[in-house]
């Protein structure tokens, strides 16, 4: 399941559909599990009438978590040493997201084999919603 150094090269990409037609119920599930009950993610009346947004929208950490799902599917469980993102656009109910990892470097540090990845998550219109980086342990 883990990546092997010999099978990787700079420029390789892994792309995965991490959510299809994002439901409002999934936003509620994420609030309940993660603990962020901000009404902006579940409360249409508050979000439209008080906060001034067109409708509720995703937690940034849900978008990051979905991107993390792509990463663990690609590099294996418990192999990330670093994972960081910037949230670049909001994610709305009905969006479908693809998370993409691109190999930037393959290197060795303190006897560990590592891969550095550039991350991008895009919506169905090809618009960036998240950009970031990750480093993962790989097998020799």
């Amino acid at each position: 399941m883990a990546l092997r150094r010999a099978e990787l090269k700079v420029g390789d990409t892994h792309r995965e559909r991490v959510v299809e037609n994002l439901s409002r119920t999934q936003l509620v599930m994420y609030s309940g599990a993660g603990g962020d009950y901000n009404p902006l993610h579940s409360d249409e009346m508050y979000t439209v009438q008080v906060a001034g947004y067109p409708t509720v929208f995703s937690h940034g950490m849900l978008t990051m978590g979905l991107t993390g799902k792509m990463l663990t599917n690609y590099v294996g469980i418990a192999r990330l040493t670093k994972f960081g993102v910037r949230f670049t656009n909001q994610v709305w109910p009905g969006d479908s997201l693809d998370a993409i990892a691109t190999v930037e470097a393959i290197r060795e540090e303190d006897g560990l084999h590592l891969v550095d990845l550039a991350l991008s998550t895009v919506n169905q219109d090809g618009k960036d919603v998240l950009s970031g980086y990750a480093t993962a342990r790989i097998d020799p």
């Binding site: 009404p39 902006l40 508050y46 849900l62 978590g65 418990a78 670093k82 994972f83 910037r86």
Partner: protein, 180 residues
């Protein structure tokens, strides 16, 4: 609280975060992540991880254990979200606490059920900039160190929160913004 020098010092309480298998299962479900490492103890034991582990962003759920977390309704307090009216707070503007601009994690190991983590939050840098889509933006960094029951560092989380002057405009503009 006053420090020895008589100056105001900010001391944030440490938060105790017991890691439980059911919580990991529910968190993974919310991500629609069906990896057995998050819900099937037997399959997880046979995997490289050697047992159930937390997904990479799981420690964000420390919010559940923060007694003062502002984005959770609390006993005896008005909630700013809607009930019969659009906001439960009248007479002063309701706030959603801003947006999430960045999040970074560094992992030394992955939390697993049975761990009792202690989270210590440290304020970081603060800066501001003008944005065409949301007015003046104030950025605030927070660094959270998670240690285990042995006192060993497990992971470090760094977040950047953004307070906007007005809601983010949805048309035009190339500047990136943030999510909630």
């Amino acid at each position: 609280m006053r420090g020895l020098g008589g100056k105001e010092t900010q001391i944030l309480p440490k938060i105790t975060f017991p890691v439980e298998a059911t919580h990991i299962m529910m968190f993974a479900r919310a991500l629609d992540d069906t990896n057995p490492a998050y819900h099937d103890a037997e399959a997880a034991r046979r995997s490289e991880a050697g047992g159930i582990v937390a997904p990479p962003t799981f420690t964000t759920a420390v919010a559940q254990f923060d007694p003062d977390y502002p984005l959770r309704p609390k006993h005896g307090e008005s909630w700013f979200g809607s009930a019969k009216e659009a906001s439960g707070i009248t007479g002063k503007p309701a706030t959603s606490g801003g947006l999430h601009g960045e999040q970074h994690f560094e992992y030394l190991r992955y939390p697993k059920p049975g761990d009792v983590l202690t989270a210590e939050v440290k304020p970081g840098k603060e800066w501001s900039k003008e944005s065409r889509r949301a007015g003046k933006l104030i950025f605030r960094e927070r660094i959270t160190e998670f240690r285990d029951q042995a006192g060993d560092l497990v992971l470090v989380a760094r977040s950047v929160g953004i307070t906007t002057e007005r809601p983010v405009e949805q048309t035009g503009g190339a500047n990136g913004t943030a999510q909630g």
